[in-house]
């Protein structure tokens, strides 16, 4: 077992306390509980922001802001909502806000389309990854949000609806549209 595995094992070992309990402890002023929440959620929050923004530095800034907002607004957290729904909602909102602050050339980084004719490309998994990441940045943020929730955070439509405060039917419709747009974009680029 390597050192990384050892540490992951140690983390798992102490991370079994459920979110609700950690939140209650946080509210009682137990900062170790907040620390646990950071450890537990920093990776999905960072990845959600990264998929929304594509830029690692922006994603890191958003992730930091998300946890600060969680800390500051913990008293307002509604325990009827799952904690992860709450923090993912904040993460998506902060990502969309960050997109609004980016300068135009940064916000459209997904338009750096490879102009190599499709038939001449030898697509491998790396190129496909690059192409799908680019295509993601070319759809609307609200469409990208549902893709992030479904395909990267692996949430159900019910959970997505709770996060986005939308009916499941609307969530499905939005995701279907996003997938089809991605497919069209990849087709245009000769990838799909």
């Amino acid at each position: 077992m390597g050192p990384t595995n050892l540490l992951q094992s140690a983390r798992y070992f102490v991370e079994e306390e459920d979110d609700g309990s950690l939140v209650r402890r946080c509210r009682d002023g137990d900062l170790k509980a907040f620390d646990r929440l950071v450890i537990r959620y920093q990776k999905p929050v960072y990845n959600a922001a990264l998929r929304m923004l594509r830029n690692p530095e922006d994603a890191r800034d958003v992730a930091q802001t998300v946890f600060l907002k969680v800390f500051e607004h913990l008293e307002q957290y509604d325990p009827n909502l799952k904690f992860y729904s709450w923090i993912y909602r904040i993460a998506l909102n902060e990502s969309v806000n960050a997109l609004g602050r980016l300068r135009p050339h940064e916000a459209i980084s997904g338009n750096e389309i490879d102009q190599t004719p499709g038939l001449e490309r030898q697509l491998d998994s790396e190129q496909t990854r690059h192409a799908i990441e680019q295509a993601l940045m070319r759809i609307q943020p609200e469409q990208r949000s549902v893709v992030v929730l479904r395909h990267f955070l692996h949430l159900s439509y019910e959970e997505m609806g709770a996060i986005l405060e939308l009916p499941e039917k609307t969530v499905k419709s939005r995701l279907y549209t996003a997938r089809q747009l991605l497919r069209d974009l990849l087709l245009q680029d000769g990838v799909c």
Binding site: V14, I39, Q42, N47, P56
Partner: protein, 226 residues
């Protein structure tokens, strides 16, 4: 006139939410409609590509930067714990953790097997004679219900060591953290060397864990060496 492409069925199939009668309906549509087949194939590729994008590890400094950004009034309480959790991969903290676990494992093995030199002699940390005789520099009595007893911090010429003398109905582990170093010690009764501890730390934070749940914590002071 062609039937419209059954988009909802294609997406439901991709999501694994297709019911039996819908499956038959989709199969019929795919059989007769090449556009539906092409669309289905394209969407499946998109979703496979999306699902294939792996999650990346956040920057190692993210955790510490989050804690550092908290209001100044709450930061000190988290400082030591942050050092324990935010250690970058491959850094010296990992090395200390592994070293500590190896020493722990060696001690437990020797004690458990009941042969070879006394566990105290293994790391040169515990009992002996003359200058090697350990001195208790701090101790704490704990009582967390399921676990009670005493934890002592000892110092000898070989360095610091932790002595657990706990009574527990089930295995208990103690996470030891101080000055960026960390170590996991399995109880309830054992003695382990604390290699690398004590150089900069003034305290050791102990977190007691049983069956995966934190049951309590304690702190030991490390007095300056004379």
């Amino acid at each position: 006139m062609n039937e419209p492409v059954p988009l909802e069925l294609i997406h439901a199939e991709i999501d694994g939410e297709l019911e039996a009668h819908q499956r038959a309906e989709l199969a019929r549509a795919l059989l007769t409609d090449p556009d539906a087949r092409a669309l289905r194939e394209g969407l499946r590729r998109v979703c496979t590509a999306l699902d294939g994008l792996e999650a990346v590890e956040p920057p190692p400094q993210l955790h510490s930067s989050i804690l550092a950004a908290l209001p100044a009034s709450v930061r000190p309480a988290l400082a030591q714990r942050a050092a324990w959790w935010s250690a970058p991969a491959g850094g010296w903290r990992y090395a200390a953790l592994v070293a500590g676990l190896l020493v722990t494992g060696a001690l437990l093995y020797r004690v458990g097997m009941g042969r070879g030199p006394d566990a105290n002699e293994l790391a040169g940390t515990m009992s002996g004679s003359g200058a090697r005789t350990p001195v208790v520099v701090d101790s704490v009595t704990v009582d967390f219900g399921q676990v009670n007893g005493q934890v002592s911090l000892q110092r000898s010429a070989a360095g610091l060591a932790l002595d657990l003398q706990l009574n527990a109905s089930a295995p208990v582990e103690v996470l030891v953290a101080g000055d960026g170093q960390s170590l996991r010690v399995r109880g309830p009764r054992t003695s382990v060397a604390l290699p690398g501890f004590g150089a900069g730390a003034q305290t050791l934070d102990l977190t007691f864990v049983m069956a995966g749940r934190e049951i309590g914590s304690a702190r030991l002071k490390i007095p300056a060496e004379r």
